[in-house]
């Protein structure tokens, strides 16, 4: 419990990881998933974590979200932030309508009914689903479900958003549009985003900074600022250039495991 505190280390850091290490199992069968990862996310910064399989990307997000405990190191969140977490699957509650799904975190925070209704309507407008509040998740498309999940996470009113390959299961067209949506919401709400993906182009499209993790164990091996003006397009030459550079590093890293 001592490993996760909520005192801000400095005013310019929203999420701070220092020397975060995670070991699964014990003794001879212990697996080192993350090894001394240090990383600061500034308020309003969009950071993409990129890596091949086994780099502990998802482990890292679970640790920041407080769903798992670090083996060593420290994770610090500014204020009393409870970061919102999104997964590759929408993880909506199938027994609830879209509205009721978005309402769950508001209920858990004890907001009065009238205020909840207002907030739900506002959040659904934000993700362009105002007309679909009464539907059930199974009646929606994959992209729409993921937007409901985004609205539900935003209902936490958290400044920190953790996203674990949230668009990985969507077709390219839907993904493009959701990139635009996420970018808009991120800049409107001044969120700090830690976004995990294995899609380098997606990272170059979205990130202020791309961080490359090695595999087994996960260590930061490369980091680059993406200074392309927003709004960006995923098929622009600038995005492609950054993506090519990161892909080159990623391939070198993957190749290292084949030797």
């Amino acid at each position: 419990m001592t490993s996760t505190t909520t005192t801000p280390r400095s005013a310019t850091t929203s999420v701070a990881l220092s020397g975060v290490t995670k070991v699964y199992g014990r003794g001879a069968s212990a697996v080192l998933a993350l090894d001394g990862v240090s990383l600061d996310v500034a308020p309003g910064e969009f950071v993409c974590l990129v890596g091949a399989s086994g780099c502990g990307k998802s482990t890292l997000l679970n640790l920041v979200a407080g769903l798992d405990r670090v083996s060593a190191g420290q994770i610090t969140l500014a204020g009393d932030a409870n970061p919102g977490l999104m997964f590759q699957e929408p993880a909506l509650f199938p027994w609830l309508t879209v509205e009721a799904n978005v309402e769950v975190p508001l209920k858990l925070r004890g907001l009065p009914r009238a205020e909840r209704r207002e907030r739900v309507a506002e959040l659904l407008r934000t993700v362009h689903l105002a007309d679909f509040g009464r539907k059930r998740p199974h009646e929606l498309s994959g992209g729409m479900r993921q937007r409901v999940a985004l609205a539900r996470t935003l209902a936490l009113d958290t400044p920190v958003l953790l996203m674990d390959e949230p668009f990985g299961a969507l077709d390219a067209m839907t993904r493009d549009i959701l990139h635009d949506e996420l970018e808009r919401i991120w800049s409107e709400r001044k969120l700090s985003v830690l976004f995990v993906t294995h899609n380098v182009r997606e990272a170059a499209r979205l990130a202020d900074r791309i961080i490359l993790l090695s595999s087994r164990p996960g260590r930061i091996i490369y980091s680059t600022e993406v200074n392309i003006q927003r709004p960006r397009r995923i098929d622009s030459p600038e995005v492609a250039a950054i993506a090519a550079e990161v892909t080159e590093r990623l391939r070198t890293e993957v190749g290292r495991h084949g030797q």
Partner: protein, 294 residues
Amino acid sequence: MASDTLTSSARTDAEITGLDALEIAGRDKEVSRGARIWAATWPKLAALAIAIAAWQLVVLSGWKPPCSLPGPLEVGRELVAQAQGPQLWEGLLTTLRRAAVGYVFSVAVGLLLGLAVARSTVLRAAIGSMITALQTMPSIAWFPLAILLFELSEKAIFFVVVLGAAPSIANGVISGVDYVPPLLLRAGRNLGARGLNLYRYVIAPAALPAIVAGLKQGWAFSWRSLMAGELLVVGISQTSLGAQLTYSRELSDAPWLLSTMIVILVLGLVVDAAFGAADKAIRRRWGVLDQAGQ
């Protein structure tokens, strides 16, 4: 630059709305209520007609004398006569009261037991497999012991009904809680549901389909145990449906016997249909039910 952003966001809005409209299109297929009910009813009616015809054929073949196997017409007449007298209704009431009391108690025991075992690893190791073992025990095998303990009384029936039904219900709860998708648990915890709230907002609703399946199975067990009990534990003053079966056999009153059996069958079917409807409603809400609507 500002106007640039504006037009691009307006374009995104249009794209999103368009994409949603395309993806949702054709998902809502409405079938009229009447057509649905008819589609569900006619096969049942046809099957009933075939069964009655087969019965009549067996009677006509002269395989057994009419005094031990009367035809559908005679039994039907007996059923109408029974429905006009108080005896059938009193029996029905007695049996239903016993079923309700026994079942409600079983549900309480089963839910509590299931929840306790699902939560505690120690309890699970201790009695988890015993619950399954209890479930495999034919309930009629409990009666000799029940009669020794409680004599020929309603308590003996109650004892066996609860022993028959509670393990199934507990098992439903256990498997329901076990199979809650871990992703939903993680999502729930991230949204702020901890402790009791996690049960209220995630685990209980996620486990509901399995719990209803357990309740349904529990009902089937308790209904069978009750009938077995009423057949064996006669001699207590009240004339339940089971007792009427025994009396009619002793009096060799075949039409009475068969008409009582029909009442028991219909009762079972009605309760089963109620559980079926609940199950279907849940599956429809969850979106598990095939859209074509079986």
